[in-house]
Symmetry: C2
Subunit: 359 residues, 2 copies
């Protein structure tokens, strides 16, 4: 399929949902993409299965705290500059771009860059959601070097990183992002079409459009859960679970080390139960009345209880009436090597991964 | 002249003196250079006047907090990797290296790298002392781009920065240094022999050896001042002034944003006067009894009152009996464009530059 202007509202809703709170609010990139499509035509979305095995693909997205990404306006060309910088450094040309993470605004970033560069975008990504750190991308997990990695700001200042491992690249690019005002645009993971077929999370862009349509068209929470289930299962996720409903009664959020870090407390509408959600850009851990009921790498999504609109972590605030939806992660994140970098302990929590349960 | 093993003690004393507290303690690099010279022979020191006008010169040194540079041991090859990385990125080869700053350990860094690379080192540098930030190098001040700039750590992790101005490069490389554990080795300012002739501070390596010899051979403070004066004047500095003598009675020092930042208080031996010195890696401002008597860009040097040994800022401690020596800066730092980036206001102090006075 192609992404046209009429898809953008649904696309942004779907990526915000899959973002599990992170990846940045899609709003600004939706506006930029709308203007770019009006000028240059639709975004060509390529099914991963249609890629040449030896095609050259680059993953791309923004790095930084979502809170800042919403306030430090992009000029819209950072993504192009990041890809060009990487191409120049590595003496190659990209045949297509792919989202480092489909979640949030980062799901739209490669589309905007690809339009300006006359390139197609792969229908898929390296996370199937959003995660805060580079080494959590499937591409890194399954052995593709994250570097050389380019990072640029809205003035064209740039750095190209080469490291021995993805986690070190993450540490360096996070600091570069801080030096660029808290956010930078990145190109990384130079890989082949075959790599994307093997290690990409597939069809997550078109899934986002479909999920957004369900969000928009559902009469209520139950219909949303019922109608999104076959879409998610068909794409390799598990069926969504209703983990909790209630109102936000406490919000603690600060910017630490280039991330939004926080803890949110939600009280059930009858005030008998409380859920606590821990955040590092994304919603990571959900605990109800002292029992952990959902963790990374499964997706913990927060939506408005009435409108069903996804709520990103930097916009969660006191008094909102929400539902917390769990979506079991795709299989690529259930392997030991994936769990090692995306389970709760990889985020510093003294908690083991638990299969999601409803409470 | 060539730098041989028997020059190293004097060289390290001289660079520590010109470091005005910063540039890092030369001790570790003296040991590494001693071992390298024993294996590979002396360091070839080239007079700037003997450079071909179109020779390619790269400046190099460590970036970070001196406190960390003394504790995070180098493997000795970081400097070589930084130069190689820059050469590869910019598709050029260095004909010689030059110290970004002669002050402290950074005066020895290019010698170690050059020995491993079979290159000569220019007898001179880009500061004539040490300063904490890249844009304060004469090369940057007089229009040579600081970037592309490479930064590497002891594991070979690297980044190459390209920016629109030197101050932005400084901001980014400082954060990269933090992500590399607080210190990294840098190659920058790709320039010509003619650039070095026009904008370098000349003969500061051989000056350091001579100053070190004076430190070592002087019977006392007065002889040190008398014997170092002609050397300094001949090299374009002013004659040294005895600004203050006393004992250190207060030391406040912390690592902030990748720098050692602090304030030291020295009481005169008769306890009638106090000098306060403000530090950002280097000694920047000297105030006696509320009157500012010396500031950047002039050199404020601290030496042991009895042994005359220079004391770097990270080693200054309570109870030391010291003399504070002022050395008027070379002419390249008296221009408006140099003053704009190296006077007290450039460091955030609400103080104007004052010609040094003795109190």
């Amino acid at each position: 399929m192609n992404i046209n202007r009429e898809h953008l509202d649904d696309l942004a809703l779907g990526t915000a949902l899959l973002g599990t709170g992170g990846g940045g609010d899609p709003y600004l990139y939706k506006l930029a993409l709308d203007a770019a499509i009006a000028e240059k035509g639709p975004v060509e979305l390529v099914d991963p299965g249609d890629l040449d095995d030896d095609a050259t693909i680059i993953s791309t997205g923004g790095v930084g705290a979502p809170m800042i990404a919403s306030e430090k306006l992009p000029n819209g060309m950072e993504g192009v500059w990041a890809i060009r910088k990487l191409e120049e450094f590595a003496n190659m040309k990209a045949d297509a771009l792919i989202a480092a993470e489909i979640g949030g605004g980062n799901g739209l970033v490669p589309m905007l860059s690809a339009l300006h560069m006359g390139l197609p975008v792969v229908d898929g990504d390296g996370m199937g959601r959003a995660y805060p750190e580079t080494q959590m991308e499937t591409f890194s997990i399954y052995g593709i070097s994250a570097t050389p990695m380019s990072a640029v700001d809205e003035f064209g200042n740039a750095a190209v990183i080469t490291t021995n491992d993805s986690k070190t690249a993450e540490r360096i690019v996070r600091q570069i992002g801080l030096s660029m005002g808290g956010h930078c645009m990145v190109g990384d993971h130079i890989m082949t079409g075959l790599d994307v077929k093997n290690y990409g999370i597939k069809n997550t862009a078109s899934l986002s459009v479909e999920l957004g349509k369900v969000v928009r068209q559902s009469a209520g929470l139950n219909q949303f859960l019922a109608d999104s289930a076959p879409l998610l299962v068909n794409a390799g996720y598990g069926a969504p679970l209703n983990l909790f409903e209630g109102k936000v009664i406490d919000v603690r959020r600060e910017m630490v080390g280039g991330y939004d870090v926080g803890e949110f407390v939600i009280s059930s509408f009858d005030d008998k139960h409380q859920m606590t959600i821990n955040v590092q850009n994304e919603y990571l851990i959900a605990i109800v009345d002292g029992q952990c009921i959902a963790t990374v790498p499964d997706l913990i999504c927060v939506i408005d209880r009435e409108t069903l609109l996804p709520i990103t972590s930097e916009r969660l605030r006191y008094g909102l009436r929400i539902a917390v939806i769990g979506i079991p992660t795709p299989a690529l994140y259930k392997s030991p090597e994936a769990m090692a970098v995306t389970d709760p302990r990889a985020f510093g929590f003294d908690i083991d991964y638990v299969e999601m349960v409803t409470k």
